[in-house]
Amino acid sequence: MPRTRIELADAIEYLSILDENGTLDRSLEPSIPAETLLRLHRTMLLARRFDERLLSLQRQGRIGTFPPIAGQEAAHLGAVAMLRPSDWIVPAFREMAADIWRGRPLESIIVYNNGFNEAGRIPADRNDMPISIPVGSQLLHAVGIAWAIKYRGQSDVAMTFFGDGATSQGDFHEALNFSGVFQVPAIFVCQNNQWAISIPRAKQTRSPTLAQKALAYGIAGIQVDGNDLLAVYAAADEAVQRARAGQGATLIECVTYRMAVHTTADDPKRYRTDAEVEEWRRKDPITRFQTYLAAKGLLAADAVAAEEAAVQAEIQAAVDRAEEQMKRLGDPLLMFEHAYAQMPAYLKEQREEFIRLRAETQEEK
């Protein structure tokens, strides 16, 4: 019998718990403490409003180019909500809600997006990597961190984020492959937001799902409704438990949508229709989560307005603090720092040259 069917062990599941109308599948509802649910709601709202505020700051020329996150709040927060502080986040560049959840102050995000390296500093109490802009390259860092976690006998996990476009990169393949071979506690959270700038998901791969790529690497994979916080949470929680138990990596495909521009330098009207955006607006992650919380009796009718007011006040205070901070930042000599642990001789000479030239060129201005 030269030609026989090879039985592949797994199939790929799709998980949806809270649909776009806020209807809940109780049998799948993850057990999340009320306090956490409310904090998740608050953070979703904060991230959405902050995103809007950043956009307006950018349009006013008060910050530089940045990548808005609107629409992906559930796919960020559902993934990180169960992590411990000692776990590692290895982000791409559009995971602002996750960053806020992990403790990054809003003013740090403003200051960074206004071009100040100072705000890229990661405090010692957070095990998170800075943003990574070259698409897909950061997945391997998560694998290395996860490898080191395992080597040190720790039970932490390394969770990395990337978009649908990243799945076309060689580093995606190498990272998932390495994670399978070394059976490391890595979690790959794909933000399938349908668009890599102007290239639609269908032009990235012929595969019907991105999640199924996990099968080729011998790791677990699941596709979830990425606008359903409960589904993202449930899948991530399962992946985290699998990783902590030493059972290897997971690929989670969060099916979501980038509601806004790729970055503030992008014009989506060139490549997608308003009708498509409107269709996804009906699937908004926040409204359905509010319906869920209201049905659980956790969110009174007037509570949303109060929360909205509270997050706006928090954002305004952060904008004020950022603008105050930025008055004191910008010493150009900082550019010579952190190239190496110790500044090499020739770089010291260049730093001296800069100081000298700054004085000598005053009259040329």
């Binding site: 500093r121 990661i122 390259s137 391997l140 580093d171």
Partner: protein
């Protein structure tokens, strides 16, 4: 003191650093069971096991990308790229991340990895197995580029590279892997990075080289002495970047006549930077234009004619005599 080949000396450095510090981990293609295609990691898997001597899948970007994560976590990965001709897949990880994470995180995450790779011609190898592309790495702020020239300094520099807090690209001149033996002390020996040394003192002219080119350069200096009565000073760079130019400048000021020798292609090669430093810092001491004895701006030919491409003793002697005649 035992006499060792460069392969044995590198092996000693890896073994002793792994014994000394359990955060040192070796990884790469065929580094475990096989002991590396050049046997630099021979015996390590037997001594340290497969958790510390890791045979990886065949993916260079993966090896270095994973090493970056390991280093960020606090390990000291020493990864082997089987031939430098295959290291370009890693350029993206090295340039975009290894070199910058300390900067991007404003000091929080250093990346203390070492990327070892055999480089250079002269071993009658296949295409992609003979290039000298050290300029790629030397141009990247945040990376250190080290090239030893003999067994003893190979061992001592690899020790320092492993202990260094920054990412180091460590190019091993494969033509010298087994070309000769040197006394290498069993006891610990390290040499500081970013420090060049005077391999031979002289007053008449300066020859600057590194890596595999140190042998023909020293031979040329000997011939200049014995056949022509000329005393050439020879400087071994050892670290290309960040470059220590103090010896180069001092020697150029002393002799006023300088030739730079490298097997990398001439244009934008290390010689260009070396000469620029001399122009900046020793211009008024130079008696004649600085000479470059280098590979040509072509792909290194397949091995039947590679010796015509590589600088050798006759070209170096010829350049030196022209400098003196000018």
């Amino acid at each position: 003191m035992p006499k060792m080949t460069m392969v044995q000396a590198l092996n000693l450095a890896l073994r002793q650093e792994m014994e000394r510090d359990e955060s040192v981990v070796v990884l790469g293609e065929d580094v475990g069971v096989d002991g590396g295609v050049f046997r630099v990691t021979d015996g390590l898997i037997q001594q340290f096991g497969e958790t510390r001597v890791v045979d990886t899948p065949l993916a260079e970007s993966g090896i270095v990308g994973m090493s970056i994560g390991m280093a960020v976590y606090g390990l000291k990965p020493v990864c082997e790229i089987q031939f430098s001709g295959f290291s370009y897949y890693t350029l993206h990880q090295m340039e975009n991340h290894a070199a910058r994470l300390r900067w991007r995180s404003q000091g929080r995450y250093g990346v203390p990895l070492v990327m070892r790779a055999p480089y250079g011609g002269g071993v009658r190898a296949l295409e992609h197995h003979s290039e000298s592309r050290e300029t790629f790495w030397s141009h990247i702020p945040g990376i250190k580029m080290v090239i030893p020239s003999g067994p003893r300094n190979a061992r001592a520099l690899l020790v320092s590279a492993i202990r260094d807090p920054d990412p180091v690209v460590f190019y091993e001149p494969k033509a010298l892997y087994r070309a000769f033996r040197e006394e290498v002390p069993e006891e610990e020996e390290a040499m500081p990075l970013s420090r060049s040394l005077i391999a031979r003192e002289g007053r008449d002219l300066t020859l600057i080289a590194y890596g595999a080119m140190m042998r023909p350069t020293l031979e040329a200096a000997e011939k200049l002495h014995s056949a022509h009565g000329v005393e050439a000073e020879v400087i071994d760079l050892l670290t290309l970047s960040p470059m220590d130019d103090s010896l180069l400048v001092a020697s150029a000021r002393k002799t006023g006549r300088v030739a730079v020798v490298h097997e990398a292609p001439r244009s934008f090669g290390p010689g260009a930077e070396i000469i620029a430093r001399l122009v900046e810092k020793a211009f008024y001491h130079l008696e004649v234009p600085v000479a470059r004895v280098t590979g040509y701006d072509v792909v290194i030919p397949l091995f039947s004619r590679e010796t015509h491409y590589l600088p050798g003793v006759p070209r170096i002697v010829h350049a030196a005599r022209q400098l003196l005649a000018a």
